[in-house]
């Protein structure tokens, strides 16, 4: 069919799609490029160099960044793991538990951290911690992160579980598996891609969070985003660009992994 007569084709839409990609990527690419700039100036190009990367790891500011990175990583790891465990068990009950009275209330509760604007959650968590005398610091950040990670882990896991027909459970029980064996040998392996992508989502969300962390971190404890924010307030310096580029790389890596999992998974599923 010639394009002129293809009713699907809308002139100019392709161009706008490219503009869309450009808008999405241009700022990131520019920052990436300038992170390799030799010059201290962020305006002029002074040749290729890795000095700002060295600066992050060995410069005078490096202890601060290292602590922040350590906090970010450990919080993300613990929060994502806990959220994934909580979300998986909730998803099994919600999807496989039949109908029960508190079902929609439970769903509302689980998705609440996504529905409520982040800044409101941040305020609420801060005043709550202060009202019960919970000292702000590493632990308070961790608890807040577990909470808002739950829906991000829950959604991919439950949608994966909904995709697993109940025939599989029945087949397992028909073949003499008890409830635990059904879960262990049939549901869990089939659910695993969903669990992994839920974990990765939660991990990235935790690693990225600024607003809530900023409210509940208390004095002295920083994560990478709050550290970067603090530094940016004094002006954008090249070492921040290098740090951003590193974080960007980590995110892209994780997203790619999660996509790859999802695709591999749907590939084995489509052939049914």
């Amino acid at each position: 069919m010639s394009r002129a007569h293809d009713v699907r084709h809308m002139p100019g839409f392709g161009f706008l799609a490219v503009v869309c990609l450009l808008v999405l990527y241009l700022p990131l690419l520019v920052v990436m490029v300038y992170s390799f700039n030799e010059s201290r100036s962020i305006t002029l190009w002074g040749g290729f160099s890795l000095r700002w990367y060295a600066e992050i790891f060995y410069g005078p500011e490096s202890p601060k960044f290292k602590t922040a990175a350590w906090n970010s990583l450990t919080i993300a790891l613990i929060a994502a793991t806990s959220a994934t465990l909580i979300a998986t068990s909730a998803a099994i009950a919600m999807v496989r538990g039949g109908s029960f009275r508190l079902r929609s209330a439970t769903f509302g509760l689980i998705t609440m951290p996504i529905m409520v604007p982040e800044i409101v959650t941040a305020v609420a968590t801060l005043v709550f911690f202060s009202s019960i005398g919970f000292v702000l610091g590493y632990a308070s950040i961790l608890v807040a992160h577990i909470v808002f990670c739950i829906p991000f882990a829950y959604l991919p896991i439950s949608s994966r579980l909904q995709g697993i027909e109940s025939h599989y459970d029945e087949a397992a029980q028909d073949l003499y598996a008890n409830r635990w064996q059904t879960f262990r040998y049939v549901l869990l392996p089939m659910l695993l891609p969903g669990v992994l992508s839920g974990f990765l989502l939660a991990f990235i969300i935790s690693l990225d969070d600024f607003i809530i962390t900023n409210f509940v971190k208390g004095a002295g404890v920083e994560t990478l985003p709050t550290a970067i924010f603090g530094a940016v307030k004094q002006g954008i310096k090249p070492d921040i660009m290098a740090l951003s580029t590193l974080l960007l790389g980590v995110s892209v890596l994780l997203v790619t992994a999660s996509w790859w999992l999802g695709r591999k998974d749907s590939a084995t599923h489509d052939q049914h």
């Binding site: 027909e165 087949a171 029980q173 028909d174 073949l175």
Partner: protein, 353 residues
């Protein structure tokens, strides 16, 4: 049938889904080593009955016994019954070998014994070379055979099959029919087979239960069901049938509006009954002869290759379907509008209950 020979017996089995009653108190038995088919239109409760036997649903009331033992309240894993699911439900993350061995593993068979059994099963369904593949790497027919092997591996006393052939194409479906039948005879396992395809049911079964709207209409061998339908539903559902409202006329039966009298088999319950006559049991002559049959006009003719279906508008009576062989002289020449006479072959008409 003696008590020992009953594989399954149903006693007033009722199943409600909320306000709707899916099964209205079924009572019948299925014999040992029988190939038993549940046949009926969509929504008549075949799957429901199968799921009750397997234990995926609980009875509303009544009782199901397996070889004389009440299993009504046992969990699926506690019943020595296995299922071949309609879409197979093969575990996608397990190899063919592990799928077939799944039940044995759950039953705690030791590895060597279980491996031998799996190998035997795969040989039985001719899939020994495919043991290490994943289900997604098999064709529909192969998946079907894996499902069969998986369900038969734990040596169930009864095998339940819910439209196992419906996902296959026509050719494969016909090939699988005889294969299934052979497997059943070789293994000696009782098969309870669900289908809404009457041809499939007639070809494979020892006995058939025809169901409609949650009730069993008739149970019998394929021949009984076809030749001696007990009511209009069975007559029409199995093959095609002309159903006529007739009254007693001398020693036979006739339409109120016609003099033609015919004999009928079966036990009439009064002076007005319904008869069923198969289209291929009717013949056609050109012109009107009132005493030899029903007079009417040809309404339309459809050529079917192996024969012709001719609809005849009986004067002051119903429309009758007549099937004539392809080489029949009348079949070749009749045109819509032609006057014809329809008569029934001897022994063709049956009184319906």
């Amino acid at each position: 049938m003696s008590d020992v020979a009953k594989a399954l017996s149903f006693d007033q089995v009722v199943k409600d889904y909320g306000a709707t009653r899916a099964l209205h108190g079924l009572s019948f038995d299925i014999g040992e080593r029988e190939f038993f088919t549940l046949l009926g239109p969509s929504g008549c409760g075949k799957t429901t009955l199968l799921r009750l036997i397997a234990g995926f649903e609980s009875l509303t009331s009544g009782r199901i016994a397996l070889q004389g033992e009440d299993v009504s309240t046992l969990a699926p894993a506690e019943r020595p019954v296995n299922t071949v699911f309609q879409h197979y439900a093969l575990f996608p993350h397990l190899s063919v070998h592990d799928n077939v061995g799944f039940g044995l593993k759950m039953l705690g068979w030791d590895d060597a014994r279980s491996k031998r059994r799996v190998d035997d099963m795969l040989a039985m369904v001719k899939l020994s070379d495919f043991a290490d593949r994943r289900p997604a790497q098999l064709s529909g027919g192969q998946q079907q055979r894996v499902a069969l092997a998986r369900a038969m591996a734990p040596e169930p006393r009864v095998l339940l099959l819910d439209e196992p052939l419906s996902a296959l194409d026509l050719k494969l479906r016909q090939a699988m029919r005889s294969e299934l039948k052979q497997l059943q005879q070789a293994s000696g396992i009782t098969f309870v087979f669900v289908t809404h395809d009457q041809e499939e049911a007639l070809a494979m079964s020892d006995r058939i239960a025809v169901m409609a709207e949650g009730r069993v209409q008739q149970i019998g061998t394929p021949r009984e069901i076809y030749d001696e339908p007990v009511n209009a539903f069975v007559a029409d559902f199995i093959g095609q049938s002309n159903v006529l409202d007739v009254v007693r006329a001398g020693d036979g039966w006739s339409l109120l509006t016609s003099d033609y009298v015919l004999q009928a088999q079966g036990r009439p319950t009064g002076d007005a009954v319904r008869l069923s006559i198969r289209p291929e049991q009717l013949s056609l002559t050109v012109g009107h002869q009132t005493s030899d049959g029903w007079c009417g006009q040809v309404r339309h003719v459809s050529y079917l290759g192996s024969g012709s279906d001719i609809a005849v508008d009986i004067e002051h009576g119903p429309v009758l379907q007549v099937r004539l062989p392809a080489q029949d002289a009348v079949a070749v020449t009749v045109q819509p509008g032609d006057p014809v006479t329809v008569s029934a072959n001897p022994g063709a008409a049956r009184v319906l209950g």
